[in-house]
């Protein structure tokens, strides 16, 4: 298992190189550049700015410099925020995004897993239909609708919670709920599906036949395999959720990662875009690896080679 993990980790390097190269090409293909505005910039100022960031060098040289700097995790300053290093900007926002995403995933699991398991256990009863209807609602309401609705209800009408900002603990509630809603729904549906399948398996029947209590059968035997679809969903979902949600960040004015990517792309902030993309790629690769390791641990049929 350890050698497998090491091999996978080493494979990440060429993957990241491909991603870095593609992103570098794509951002440079976009029309315009970082130092343009509605107002003309004096030629001298423009020349000074391009020289300062090395954008006057030939493109292959810029690419080489970028790779060299990326290898040591130093992408240099952001163009649109030149007093700050891209690394510091990303790490600062990553903390916020991780917290927001972590809470949202926790809520999703705490609510979604029991909901899905219950629905599967009581298949085709009122409980099942009610749980799945709620899940369907969660998947169907986009967060740019849910967020403002929650603000309208809890902040502007009931005056219970702040409508935005990322300051007090109370300010966490609405963005976490908004972000969690869709994941609760996914987790519940996947758990239900997985549980339905495992509850019909022979080994579950065997467990019942040898006289195990129903709670033990469900929790020990069925649930463990039943959550496998959730586990494989969790990898990419966790990556998405911790690398920021553009809409939730926008609606609640949260300084997370999602808007770095979008604003960076709009401003042609090359270093920031490259930094965020690489960061996202690393997170995704690491989480996928963790998911595969978790699979081996949960499902005795899986062998890592």
């Amino acid at each position: 298992m350890i050698s497998y993990a090491v091999r996978r980790a080493l494979l990440m390097i060429p993957t990241l190189w491909v991603i870095a190269t593609l992103t570098f090409c794509l951002v440079r293909l976009a029309p315009g550049g970082p130092f343009q505005s509605e107002r003309d910039i004096p030629p001298a100022a423009r020349a000074a700015l391009t020289a300062k960031y090395g954008l006057d060098r030939p493109l292959p040289e810029q690419y080489a410099t970028f790779l060299r700097r990326a290898a040591v995790l130093d992408l240099g300053p952001s163009y649109s925020n030149p007093t700050r290093e891209v690394r510091d900007l990303i790490l600062g926002s990553a903390g916020v995004s991780f917290e927001l995403g972590g809470w949202a995933l926790l809520v999703a699991l705490l609510v979604g897993l029991p909901l899905g398991a219950l629905a599967a256990y009581r298949q085709n009863t009122f409980t099942d239909h009610a749980a799945m209807a709620a899940a369907l609602l969660g998947v169907s309401i986009p967060n740019f609708v849910l967020g403002p609705l929650l603000v309208l209800l809890f902040s502007l009408t009931l005056l219970w919670l702040p409508p935005a900002l990322w300051t007090s603990p109370a300010s966490r509630v609405l963005p976490v709920l908004t972000l969690a809603a869709v994941y609760v729904a996914y987790v519940a549906r996947l758990t239900r599906g997985g549980m339905l399948e495992t509850l019909r398996q022979d080994y579950v029947r065997t467990a019942r036949a040898k006289g195990l209590g129903e709670g033990r059968v469900v929790m020990r035997h069925a649930f463990r395999l039943g959550v496998l679809p959730v586990v494989s969903f969790l990898g990419p979902a966790a990556a998405r959720v911790v690398t920021g949600s553009l809409v939730v960040e926008q609606v609640f004015a949260i300084p997370g990662l999602g808007r770095h990517l979008v604003n960076g792309a709009f401003n042609r902030d090359y270093t920031l875009v490259l930094g965020v993309v690489l960061f996202y790629a690393v997170i995704l690769l690491v989480l996928n690896l963790l998911v595969d390791l978790a699979y081996a641990w949960l499902d005795p049929r899986v062998e890592l080679a």
Binding site: P31, D40, P42, V251
Partner: protein, 558 residues
């Protein structure tokens, strides 16, 4: 583009959000006919002022600052020789307590107050101003607004690299308390320029010690009414009163919190919930505006701006002046302002905004469909026959799209010509306009100082802001003559003649003017409605006494 439907739905929901709760809770009017307020009326405890500064500031270095979010903060942290009066924005004594202007209008002598210090108590002298202004002009600094100092003798030559010797630039500290500025031409608005953020002094010792990072809270040294305490990226900046400021006794606020909330609906929600005391212009969703007028804490004031269509005159058919005139006369601005903008912004048929004292502008362009069709016939397209399709270029924005679609319909209807609307993302749009890769493009221009030249100079031949390919010898000559003209009245007459040429040859089609729309809690004092959308924070304070608007007039409601 992918995000558009989402953004639209977001805006609609958000409008419902903010409007549904109007008049509830603390904002419930005490009686019939009493003013209505938008949301909570509880002032913050103590002299704390919380506002939305909009987008995250890019630079707190005055030489590099550009745009409102940078400008509001830099002008709170630094103070120039001249400041803007908080009500009128006329130049008033700042670090200079008096100045003399020579009779030919070319020599300015500023006298600094005695005993000025930086916030680290290092003495602040005229040499700091000389160094700071020359730093703006130094090409290596890369200042985007260096052009504002070009009226100074040899400034442009030094900035463009044609002149290497900084000593030849007309800025000199003759002693510690006197700064002498020599201008190339008499520039009646020079004091207004000196009050802009680009001309704020910077602490040489901190800049040289910390380099690019000198504006970080742990390094920054200022000379303004406030000090930077914290800068949380994309969240907020916290400012505190500067005890070493020469006029610290006049500063009543202890603390200023400037949030970086770039979403207009979110900003309005925060204001309504009482978490912001001021939501400045530009941060109320435009679809709310028609409903906001009834609130006593909503105010609007004219702005020195023009929203216009820029025409690329280098390509057929728009290289023909008659085609451009046809487009100009076929535009029904009044209907557009009434129906599309719903009265939130006034129609405008000139390029320079009105209201400059002594400036008599040329007649406004009026809607004249008959004349428009006649002009199109003269261009060889009677009834629009044979006219190739033209495209209006906009950047992604629902407001701009609505206006462009209205204009498209007007041109089709009046002239019978095919018109399309193309939408590009901001940076691509900027690239297209700068490289003349468009036919008609929406643009707007915001004046830097109260003088028509801040608008008219853009259309000199080859000016970087021109972006139309239009060039006119008579226009250039009139502007050059105005620049050298010592008599202010004669100068304004020359500028007016130049504007008449610009409107007649129509490389630009003015459409409407912007108006500021802001929300200010009634307990905020000293934040006046001003003509340039700049509001000095030094005079602001929080009134914890009767706050419900009986004395709203005192706070300068329009």
């Amino acid at each position: 583009m992918r995000a558009r439907p989402a953004a639209l739905a977001l805006a609609l929901i958000a409008s419902a959000t903010a409007l549904a709760g109007c008049g509830r809770g603390a904002s419930a009017p005490p009686g019939r006919g009493a003013p209505r307020y938008f949301g909570s009326l509880h002032p913050p405890a103590g002299q704390v002022f919380r506002f939305n500064n909009g987008a995250e500031p890019e630079h707190l270095d005055p030489a590099l600052a550009s745009g409102q979010p940078d400008g509001r903060i830099t002008r709170a942290l630094f103070e120039g020789l001249v400041v803007s009066d908080p009500r009128t924005l006329e130049p008033a004594p700042g670090h200079a307590y008096r100045w003399e202007i020579s009779t030919d209008g070319r020599d300015y002598t500023f006298h600094l107050r005695p005993g000025l210090v930086w916030s680290d108590r290092a003495p602040l002298t005229a040499r700091d101003f000389e160094w700071s202004w020359k730093r703006v002009l130094d090409p290596a600094t890369g200042s985007r607004y260096a052009g504002l100092l070009f009226p100074v003798a040899n400034a442009e030559a030094y900035n463009s690299g044609r002149l290497a010797d900084a000593d030849a630039v007309g800025i000199r500290a003759s002693d510690d308390s006197t700064l002498v500025v020599r201008l190339a031409d008499p520039t009646p608005h020079f004091l207004h320029l000196a009050a802009l953020y680009t001309c704020l002094p910077v602490p040489r010792h901190a800049v040289e010690r910390y380099g690019d990072r000198w504006t970080q809270p742990e390094n920054i040294v200022g000379n303004g009414p406030f000090l930077l305490r914290r800068w949380e990226a994309r969240a907020r900046l916290v400012l505190e009163r500067n005890p070493t400021y020469w006029d610290a006794a006049a500063v009543r606020l202890e603390r200023v919190v400037a949030y970086s909330v770039d979403d207009a609906a979110t900003s309005t929600n925060l204001y309504k919930a009482g978490m912001l005391d001021w939501s400045p212009s530009g941060y109320i969703p435009s679809q709310y505006l028609p409903y906001m007028r009834g609130y006593a804490d909503f105010r609007s004031a004219p702005q020195q701006t023009v929203y216009f269509y820029s025409i690329n005159v280098t390509r057929a058919p728009l290289d023909d002046v008659w085609v451009r005139r046809a487009l100009t006369y076929a535009l029904d601005r009044e209907t557009l302002a009434r129906r599309v903008l719903r009265g939130t912004r006034p129609a405008w048929g000139r390029f320079a905004p009105g209201g400059y004292p002594g400036y008599e502008p040329p007649p406004e362009i009026a809607y004249d469909p008959a004349r428009a069709r006649e002009c199109l016939s003269r261009a060889g397209y009677p009834g629009g026959q044979g006219f190739p399709k033209i495209e209006i270029l906009i950047n992604t924005s629902d407001d701009r799209r609505r206006v462009a679609e209205a204009v498209q319909a007007m041109w089709k209807q009046t002239l019978g010509i095919p018109v399309g609307v193309t939408n590009l993302e901001w940076a691509t749009y900027l690239d297209a306009t700068a490289k003349l890769k468009y036919q008609v493009a929406v643009r707007n221009w915001i004046g830097d100082y109260p003088d028509p030249s801040t608008f008219l100079n853009c259309y000199r031949s080859g000016d970087g802001n021109n972006r139309t390919g239009w060039s006119s010898g008579p226009y250039d000559r009139l502007l050059a003559a105005a620049q050298g003209e010592g008599d202010p009245a004669a100068r304004l007459r020359l500028l007016s003649r130049a504007e008449a040429i610009l409107l007649d040859e129509a490389p630009v089609i003015p459409v409407y003017q912007f108006v500021t729309h802001e929300l200010v809690k009634p307990y905020v004092r000293g934040l006046y409605a001003t003509p340039l959308d700049y509001h000095p924070l030094k005079s602001v304070w929080i009134d914890h006494g009767g706050a419900t608007g009986a004395n709203a007039a005192a706070r300068g409601a329009p």
